[in-house]
């Protein structure tokens, strides 16, 4: 049941701000456009975790592989899960009255995208951008 105060939206905003702050402190050289893409994707996924997943967690990891630097975000929720992933990924498909761009958009905006979910098992979405 959605709360009727602004708290759910405030938590989404707070998650988004944490994403902002994390990448603002991040010294590994993601360009402004790359940062914007990553944080926008994060905003979509955070909103999904709140709206559909009943809340969840995001883990932020710095990565380096030799000279390559990147940021990975892992979103986990313990919500009802997604039974048809292909359908969920389709642009325009929404069960919540949104635009249906969040998952497909996050995939387009990131270098890496992985979604793991099943009905009754929650959802994990992993995204990453590399410099």
């Amino acid at each position: 049941m959605a709360p009727t105060d602004g708290s759910r939206g405030d938590r989404a905003a707070a998650a988004q701000r944490r994403g902002h702050r994390a990448h603002a402190r991040y010294e590994q050289g993601l360009s402004l456009v790359d940062q914007t893409k990553l944080v926008t994707a994060a905003s979509e996924l955070a909103r999904n975790a709140l709206d559909y997943g009943g809340g969840g967690e995001v883990r932020i990891e710095r990565m380096s592989e030799g000279a390559r630097r990147g940021v990975r975000l892992v979103f986990d929720d313990r919500g009802p899960g997604i039974s048809d992933l292909e359908l969920a990924m389709r642009d325009g498909y929404t069960t919540g009255g949104g635009l249906g761009l969040g998952l497909g958009g996050a995939r387009r905006l990131c270098n890496e995208f992985l979604i793991e979910s099943a009905a009754g098992r929650g959802t994990r979405v992993t995204i990453a951008r590399w410099r």
Partner: protein, 121 residues
Amino acid sequence: MERIPILKMGRFLLVTIQVDMHDQLAIALQDDLTARIARERSRGVLIDISSLDVVDSFIGRMISTISAMARVLDATTVVVGMQPAVAITLVELGLHLEGVLTALNVEKGMAMLRKHVGPEG
């Protein structure tokens, strides 16, 4: 609950989005703007997003909804001040903002609206 202020600028209305918007704030803005357009018989709405360094599909949908509601009331919507990184990201995200004009800043947005609605408006 706070509400986004709406400024009247002649025949047009101006809103400046500066804060992280939660659902209720977005709905309140849509409602307030629609009521204000009707009351003032405004011909245009300028949405200033120059302080937003992230625009996601939630904000995109709010802008589209405002534009659709304004159009029903014979008002044109112009989004001004979109940051370049945001513009690039929105294209890749797949957000189209159909029927929404854009301009670099408020001055240019107003000039665009004046041209659009004509001298008597």
